[in-house]
């Protein structure tokens, strides 16, 4: 929770406390949790919730195509990976984050097809820690065509990569212009990002993200780097289902 930056805004500390600080509700062990733990997390014997894993999400999806979420597992020990699942989504597996040499914090936006819980499950040693939140939604986010298809040429600006590094806080934010088509909208085939990698100046991997259909259109991702890596430069590379590759480099 120390990594959550809401306090940098005036009144943000009190606001965050009033919001609930991202602590997982005690009754979140229902819904699809048993099924997804078995099918998507490899049926682990042991799991629990822990205040060291916060998941910040709005209570209502104001826009079912862009639901902002922050998973912060920096309060846990070393994290091997974080798996983001959405209970009643047609694509329950949203993201798998391998933090590697980055810290176990990931900001992202997802599409919401129907109201229900979203969960971030962190593997620490042999144990899974699950954090989550219930998001109410009118839904339809996964089956609506991407907004870009309403324009005459959706390829205009396609793949544009934006990013910025904040050495003081270790934040890295990366945006890629991409329709993230799920394949569920009429007449629009699936076309979405599949993975994104961060590497350091020597070309060694920092962190890796597996991406699935629920990630929002024109996604913006937030990472947290330790002080040495936060000085940059960081190279960002991504791929999509059509074989397009995207890359860029960001310096502090």
């Amino acid at each position: 929770m120390a990594a959550i930056l809401s306090r940098r805004l005036p009144g943000g500390d009190a606001g965050l406390v009033a919001f609930g600080s991202g602590v997982t509700a005690p009754d979140l062990d229902r819904g699809m949790w048993d099924s997804h733990r078995e099918g998507l997390l490899g049926a682990p014997d042991a799991w629990r919730s822990d205040p060291g894993l916060c998941l910040l999400a709005p209570r209502n999806a104001e826009d079912a195509r862009h639901v902002p979420v922050l998973a912060d597992a920096t309060g846990l020990g070393p994290v091997e990976r974080i798996v983001v699942t959405i209970d009643y989504s047609p694509f329950p597996l949203a993201l798998v984050f391998h933090p590697g040499r980055a810290l176990p914090l990931l900001g992202f936006g997802v599409k919401y097809e129907i109201a229900g819980p979203i969960r971030a499950s962190a593997l620490t040693g042999a144990e899974w820690i699950m954090g989550g939140a219930f998001i109410d939604a009118m839904g339809g986010g996964c089956s609506a065509p991407a907004a870009t298809h309403a324009r005459p040429d959706w390829q205009e600006g396609f793949g544009e990569m934006r990013a910025r590094l904040w050495p003081d806080t270790g934040r890295l934010r990366v945006g890629i212009r991409h329709p993230m088509d799920t394949g569920l909208a009429d007449g629009v085939p699936a076309h979405h990002l599949t993975d994104l990698t961060l590497t350091d100046a020597r070309g060694d991997e920092i962190a890796r993200l597996e991406i699935h259909e629920p990630l929002e259109e024109n996604p913006v991702l937030t990472f947290l780097l330790p002080p040495a890596l936060a000085q940059g430069p960081v190279r960002i590379a991504a791929r999509d289902t059509s074989g397009f590759r995207f890359s860029g480099e960001v310096a502090a």
Binding site: L5, G15, L70, V250
Partner: protein
């Protein structure tokens, strides 16, 4: 205790309902005259909830010799019908109605005024047609049985300039900012400004279709008018410029907060969780409106904080 057969049947039927049986909801209007022939039905200073039935915006009825000119028709058909009954019983019927913009709390009562002309800006009518189904779905989900009989009816006549309805002169201002088409009116007889949702007073403004730059411009127009009193879209009737000042201050503070958050590298989730600007945290409908506004407005601020560093290879 002796139960009649009817009570047993009613009790049995109620037990089968999926939701708790409550008394059929009813709109209780309290119209009050704020200027000569200007009746205000003040909306609840709240978000739309199952308690208030969506009766949250201010409704204005102007008396004329040919009946009332009704500005905004309520959030449901039954709300509209209650307003219509007041006009029929007390103001000699309805001459015409107007919709200030396309947000549903202002026009979903149109069905109760369908036999008379319903005026709105062309951009409002387009947005009503395009958004009716989605807005209706959303309101049914929140309001449930309050929405019975509500089939959204877009306005029928485009407002192209100043109006004289039932003999009452209305200066028309076609503005934008709260939505793509916002109608503000001045009742010439009394000098009362009917501002629609360009003005909020003591309630957090809502932003689902806001263009903040255009809204600021509209506020500077409204701030310079020679008027005797102001009816904001939400909030009390008043005789000074408080609503203009407060709405402008809110827009400025919100914009500054979004720019600061995006510039510091915050995620939208953290920005939303931080809650509203401290000076406006106490406003009715906050933090709910602030949280909605962050999602609606975030992207523009984020883009300007993130430089282009690469692309497709």
């Amino acid at each position: 205790m002796i139960l009649t057969r009817r009570q047993i049947l009613l009790g049995g039927a109620a037990a089968l309902l999926p939701v708790p049986a409550i008394a059929a909801p009813e709109y209780r209007l309290m119209p009050r005259q704020v200027a000569d022939g200007v009746w205000l039905v003040e909306g609840a200073q709240e978000s739309i909830t199952r308690q208030n039935g969506g009766a949250i915006c201010n409704i204005v009825l102007l008396e004329t010799a040919q009946g009332a000119v009704v500005v905004d028709t309520g959030g449901t058909h039954r709300h509209g019908a209650a307003l219509r009954a007041f006009a029929d019983q007390r103001l000699g019927g309805v001459a015409a109605s107007l919709n200030t913009h396309h947000h549903p709390d202002h026009w979903f009562g149109n069905g109760a005024f369908a036999d008379r002309p319903i005026h709105a800006l062309p951009g409002t009518i387009d947005a009503q047609r395009a958004g009716a189904q989605a807005l209706s779905d959303g309101l049914y989900k929140i309001l449930g049985s309050w929405m019975q009989g509500t089939a959204p009816l877009p306005a029928t006549i485009s407002v192209e300039g100043d109006l004289a309805l039932g003999g009452r002169g209305l200066a028309v201002m076609a503005l934008s900012g709260h939505t793509g088409a916002d109608l503000a009116l001045i009742d010439r007889q009394t000098g009362t400004l009917i501002a629609g949702d360009l003005l909020f007073l003591d309630r957090a403004p809502s932003f689902p279709d806001a263009d903040i730059a255009a809204w600021r411009k509209a506020l500077s127009t409204l701030g310079g008018l020679p008027i005797s009193g102001t009816i904001p879209g939400h909030g009390p009737f008043h005789r000074n410029s408080r609503a203009v000042a407060q709405t402008l201050a809110y827009l400025d503070a919100f914009t500054a907060r979004m720019d600061a958050a995006a510039g510091l590298g915050l995620t939208p989730a953290e920005t939303l969780a931080a809650g509203p600007m401290p000076d406006f945290a106490h406003l009715v409908a906050n933090p709910a409106e602030y949280c909605r506004a962050v999602v609606q407005q975030w992207r523009a601020h984020e883009i300007s904080a993130l430089p282009v560093i690469g692309g497709s290879v």
